[in-house]
């Protein structure tokens, strides 16, 4: 219990600045404070520090300007949830969904959207890390929650697959936050490269985004399109 608490105290104290972390952990050692009380104390201090930081506009700009909108866009734009469910079903049962697409088309859609999710998650993490360094982890966490939970509604039916979706968002986001915190802003050349990569990823997802629907229309010989909501037969 005490060892677990000590590890948790060390982990929580990492949210503090180096000098303050040393002073606080030194105080605990001198005072002989261990276990749940030390954990409560350090969490209390971290919470107060975070509350102070959130009185400034930067964390709110990062939250409302990047974490929430990009997270929601990411979950809506990329049909990654569908693809992951199909991949999961194939992996666990060896059955391939009849999507109407060829295997080459499915792999292309999967690759394009996976790259898009990874890259956009990294970009969002990097933006959060460089915009508001000390609140980046809170904002990064909220971004991952929004991107995962707001994914297409039927993904919720497949909750066991959600960790995989979260992983695709979480890992690049954590990497982006760390790099954003360390490097701050991008140079002109890197910014240009990043912009080009963003455009390429956007083009590739736009290009392949309509393939699943087109395949269903083709497979149903137009019946799906004719019966689609908002369309008269």
């Amino acid at each position: 219990m005490t060892r677990v608490c000590r590890k948790l105290v060390d982990l929580a104290a990492r949210a503090l600045e180096q000098d303050e972390r040393d002073a606080v952990l030194g105080d605990f050692a001198e005072h002989g404070m261990t276990g749940p009380r030390a954990l409560r104390e350090v969490i209390g201090l971290v919470a107060r520090r975070q509350a102070e930081l959130w009185k400034r506009p930067q964390p709110w700009v990062a939250l409302l300007g990047v974490a929430l909108p990009v997270g929601m866009l990411l979950s809506r734009v990329a049909p990654i949830g569908t693809v992951l469910i199909h991949a999961g079903v194939f992996w666990s049962h060896g059955v391939r969904y009849r999507t109407g697409m060829t295997i080459a088309e499915e792999i292309t859609v999967f690759a394009c959207h996976t790259i898009a999710v990874l890259f956009w998650s990294w970009c969002a993490g990097w933006a959060l890390g460089s915009m508001s360094r000390r609140t980046a982890w809170v904002n990064g966490f909220l971004f991952c929650v929004v991107a995962s939970l707001f994914a297409q509604p039927y993904v919720v039916m497949y909750l066991p697959k959600l960790p995989l979706l979260a992983l695709l968002v979480l890992l690049p986001c954590v990497l982006g936050v760390r790099q954003g915190r360390r490097l701050g802003g991008l140079g002109r050349r890197d910014a240009l490269l990043c912009g080009l990569a963003l455009a390429a990823v956007l083009l590739s997802t736009t290009w392949t985004g309509g393939w699943p629907r087109a395949a269903v229309v083709r497979w149903s010989e137009g019946a799906y399109q004719a019966r689609a909501p908002g369309r008269r037969a």
Binding site: D19, D22, A23, L25, G26, G44
Partner: protein, 109 residues
């Protein structure tokens, strides 16, 4: 004017002099007032007071007793002494004539 906790911390730091740092200030406040002082309240208040120029802080030496970690030392500035005096005078002035302050040792007459 100072807040209540600010006054308690500045008084403890002034009393402790060269030995004023996190744990010693906290122990002093807790033993004097009988109230618990959390780490969060202590360090955020010290920061606020330093921003106001009421105290100065710096990292002191690391000791084995502290697991090799340094202390955050505290010194009250002249501005801090003035602010504490102003607070004390104000509390003394508003306490005149009230029942709980009358006939107490050390109470202002």
């Amino acid at each position: 004017m100072l807040g209540e906790l600010e006054y308690l911390l500045i008084s403890a730091a002034a009393r402790l002099g060269e030995d004023a740092y996190g744990v010693s200030i906290r122990n002093d406040v807790e033993s004097t007032t009988g109230r618990r002082c959390s780490t969060g309240a202590l360090y955020t208040t010290l920061d606020r007071m330093e921003t106001k120029g009421l105290i100065e802080t710096w990292m002191g030496e690391a000791t084995p007793r502290r697991g090799g970690r340094p202390k955050r030392m505290v010194r009250v500035t002249a501005k801090g002494v003035d602010a504490a005096r102003e607070f004390y005078d104000a509390v003394s002035a508003v306490s005149r004539g009230v029942s709980w302050a009358a006939n107490r040792a050390g109470s202002p007459s």
